[in-house]
Amino acid sequence: MCGIVGIYLKSKKFEKDLGKMLSGMLVNMESRGPDSAGFAIYKKEKKEEFKYSICINNLVFEEFKKDISKKIKYKSILKNSDHVILSSKENPEKVLSILNQIKEISLVGYGRSIEIFKQIGNPKDVVKKFKLEKFSGTHAIGHTRMATESAITTDGSHPYSTGSDECLVHNGSLSNHNNLRRDLIKRKINFKSENDTEVAAGYISNHLSNKKNLKETLESALSDLDGFYTFITGTKKGFAIVRDEIACKPAVISETKDYVAIASEFQAMAHLPGVNIANIFEPQPGIVYSWGN
């Protein structure tokens, strides 16, 4: 199982309510995934600043802050439960190499506008812990996990992000992920877990870095990724969904003039404003649906 949800705002009307809307969706999808939950939220970017979403695990925030200030010149460092959003104008490559050397932390995502929070536990508790309801933004993606392919850990939780401002959530399982992982490692994509979805995220990063757009990337994924999947993926200004050709893994799209919402089941969207007059449809198998770019 697993539950996947996402919202892409087409107008500014609901920007302040984005966290609240996504929170209701994630809590509802507990029935599909009680093991862990997570979300990626895209906010307006600040010029020249890069944000790093970090899970500090068992470290004490004050100590981590003291330690990191010696290594990285940052603009801000904000604590949200066991996660930290670090903003810096320094060269991202340099910052990433420093962060990747700190064994005690997990870098869960980075980019100009993305912030990612994910943790083990019931979705209801996870969204409460990170105060998701208070978030605003332009688009967001979330996941509730019923673990199958790898252990119940922070690193095994979704969304996965393997490139700047990219993220992916997945309902299903991939059968050729080991081969693909070996191939992508040769192409300098780094992996942190044994999870199949992380490989799909790496595949997408690799294609996007080769100047393909999100739609083209997902179209090639249809022939290269073997297994069952419904994916929702986000980039700084884009949002897309694709289901494999067999389409056993569900998805429903609700589109109004103000937003596009996607969820594994309609009940996760029943609370959204104006959903009853939305255009509600099921994405067809093997077809990429995308908004933005």
């Binding site: 050709e245 389409a247 569900p250 429903v252 089941e265 309609f266 009940q267 996760a268 969207m269 029943a270 609370h271 009853n276 509600i280 449809f281 099921e282 067809q284 198998p285």
Partner: protein
């Protein structure tokens, strides 16, 4: 009688509908605020009319006997699964596996039905006013599937004795499914079913009939070593 799922638990609503006293109870029910809940109106056995005001989740009207259910919205996976008799009318679209394994009754879908519509159907009559997705009528055994729009890939794969009537295009036929001649008996049957779905305006001659080539499921002495 109105049953509001915002005020009542689903189990309470289903229990009410499952234990009708024909002498005392009302025969007309309206379900409000379904909000995508699963298993609404499952296991009903009485001749009652129910209107569901909104979108529902999985297995709506599953195992239905006798009840007449109208859903004013979309339905999730497996609407009317294992229905025995009665009628279910979906005014929106249906997700996958609509009418799965259903033995009898009548299912009308005003919109589209996605993949595996009528999978393993065992006697139900299904009319889809829109199109159906891939693998529809997979291993379908008996009954009729009528589609006024198009059918996706592998229609009627591994088919037994269900009759399939399609007005639009068929993307591809599944194993052992072939186009068959439409004789008077079939035209008459189709006409009756279209009438039942209030689609009298459609012309039966615009439909094509598909059925089993009967090569896959019949015992053949040549294949004995495979068993």
């Amino acid at each position: 009688m109105k049953l509001d799922l915002k005020k009542l638990k689903l189990r309470k609503v289903n229990e009410t509908l499952q234990s009708i006293d024909p002498k005392k109870n009302n025969k007309n029910y309206t379900i409000l605020n379904p909000e995508g809940n699963h298993a609404i109106c499952v296991g009903l056995t009485d001749d009652i009319d129910i209107t569901v005001k909104g979108h529902v989740g999985y297995y709506c009207g599953g195992m239905n006997q006798n009840a007449n259910i109208t859903v004013e919205g979309n339905v999730g996976t497996g609407v009317a699964e294992n229905m025995m008799s009665g009628k279910i009318h979906v005014k929106g679209n249906a997700s996958q596996s609509a009418g799965a394994t259903a033995h009898g009754g009548f299912l009308i879908i005003d919109g589209d039905a996605s993949s595996r519509c009528g999978i393993s159907m065992k006697g139900i009559d299904i009319v889809v006013k829109g199109s159906v997705g891939h693998m529809s009528a997979f291993m379908a055994q008996s009954g009729n599937l009528i589609v006024c729009g198009n059918a996706g890939e592998a229609l009627g794969d591994s088919l037994y004795e269900t009759d399939i009537y399609i007005k639009g295009k068929v993307k591809s036929l599944g194993a052992d499914c072939i186009e068959k001649k439409m004789d008077n008996k079939h035209l008459k049957k189709l006409e009756n079913l279209l009438k039942k779905a209030k689609l009298e305006k459609l012309k039966t001659k615009d439909f094509k009939r598909y059925g089993s080539a009967r090569k896959l499921y019949n015992f053949k002495i040549d294949n004995v070593s495979s068993y």
